[in-house]
C-alpha cells in the first residue's frame, strides 16, 4: 500500500502540514490502520528528497511552528501516472491462510488442517459481523460503508475458499503427502 501516493493525493487540493495530512488520511480512509506521525514525516522527507513535494511555508497557530508542503510539478505528474496505472490482479497466489493449510497437512495431518480451517471461519465471521455493525450504525458515513464493504467482500472471498477447502482437505492431504 502506497502511503506516499495517498499523501500526494491529499496535497493535490493545496498545501498542508504533516499534522493536517495525518488527520485527513485517517478521516478519508476510515477503518484503515491510522497513520503514525513518524511515518508522515518520514514519507514527506522522502518525497521532498525525490522532488515530488516542496516546503511551501511555515505556519504557527497557537502551537509549535509547522512546515507546510505542496506538490511540485513532478509530484503532480507522478500522482497522475499512479492513478491511471492498473494494479496487476493477483500476480502470485500468496495467502497465509493457504500456506497454513498446506503446512498443517505436512506437519499435522487432516485433523490439524480441518481444525485450523474451522477456527479461521469463526474468526472471519466474527470480524464480518463487527464490520457489518459498523456500517449499519445510524449515522455511519459513506466512507465507513465503503471501507467496510471492501473488507467484507474480501472476507467473503476467504470464507468461500475456507468452505470449499474444508471439503477438499482429504484430497489435498493425499496430494501433499504423496
Amino acid at each position: 500500500m502506497s502511503t506516499a501516493h495517498v499523501l500526494l493525493g491529499l496535497l493535490a487540493g493545496g498545501p498542508r502540514h504533516g499534522y493536517d495530512l495525518k488527520r485527513a488520511h485517517d478521516d478519508r480512509l476510515p477503518q484503515a490502520k491510522p497513520l503514525a506521525y513518524g511515518q508522515v514525516y518520514a514519507t514527506l522527507g522522502r518525497l521532498e528528497r525525490d522532488g515530488l513535494v516542496a516546503q511551501s511555508g511555515q505556519d504557527q497557530e497557537a502551537g509549535p511552528e509547522r512546515t507546510s508542503y505542496e506538490l511540485t510539478e513532478l509530484g503532480r505528474e507522478r500522482l497522475a501516472a499512479w492513478l491511471t496505472e492498473v494494479e496487476p490482479p493477483a500476480p502470485y497466489v500468496s495467502s497465509v491462510l493457504f500456506n497454513k493449510v498446506v503446512v498443517a497437512l505436512l506437519a499435522g495431518g487432516t485433523d490439524q488442517a480441518t481444525g485450523y480451517l474451522t477456527a479461521q471461519r469463526v474468526a472471519h465471521m466474527t470480524r464480518m459481523r463487527e464490520l457489518t455493525a459498523t456500517k449499519t450504525r445510524p449515522g455511519a458515513s459513506v466512507g465507513d460503508v465503503v471501507a467496510a464493504d471492501y473488507a467484507i467482500g474480501h472476507l467473503d472471498a476467504d470464507l468461500r475458499w475456507l468452505q470449499t477447502t474444508l471439503a477438499r482437505v482429504a484430497e489435498l492431504q493425499k496430494e501433499v503427502t504423496s
Binding site: 465471521m125 464480518m128 459481523r129 472476507l155 470464507l159
Partner: protein, 228 residues
Amino acid sequence: MTGALLSGTGITKSYGATPALRGIDVTVGEGEIVAITGPSGCGKSTLLHCLAGILRADEGSVVYREQDLSLWSEASRSRLRRTEFGVLFQFGQLVPELTAAENVALPLLLAGSGRRDAREAALGWLARFGVADMADKRPPAMSGGQQQRCAAARALVTGPRVIFADEPTGALDQLSGEQVMTAMVQAVREQGSAVVLVTHEAPVAAYADREIVLRDGAIDPSGIGIVG
C-alpha cells in the same frame, strides 16, 4: 438477550420418507437477530416455516411467549402471523392488484387500523426503504428490487415482535440487497423486533447477532455446515 421470546425444542419434520429436520433446539431472544445458514437442502427454510407456525412440526414444540404454538388452531396461528410476526420471502409476494402503499398498509387494515392512518404509516415505511416514489404503482410496474423493498416495508409495518426473513436478498443485486438489509436491521434495532434470518450468504448472515449452521437437518456444532 433477555430470555427466550421464541424457542423450538426437538423440532422434527419429514417430507414423506425424506427427513428435513432431525430434532432441532433453537432459541431466539427479545430483539435478537439470528441467522440460520447452511448448504442447500440442509433444512433451514423448513426450520423457519416451523418457527413461524406456517408448517407444523411432526415432533417437538415451538413456544412463543410461553405459549406452545403446536397446540394452536391454524386460525389462531394465522392471526398471530398477522399481528405479532412479520414475514419476508425471497420474492416479495405482493398482491399484484394493489398499489405499493396498499400492499404495505394491508397488515394494518387487517389488524383494524383506519384507512388514513394505515396509508400514512405505509408511506413512512416506503420512504424508509427508499421507494416512496413507488407508492401508487402496482407491482408489475416495479422492478424486483423495488418490490422486495415494499415487501420488507410490509413485513415491518405492524411493528412485529418477530420477523421471519427467508433469503430476503436472494433475488436482488448486491447493492439493493445491502440497502434492504441495512434499512431492515436499523428498523428492527429501533423497534426492538427479533429476526430469524435464513440465508446461505455469509455477508447477509453477518447482519445477525449470531449464526446457527444446519447440516443435513441438524445443527452443526462445528459451525461449518459443509457436506464433506
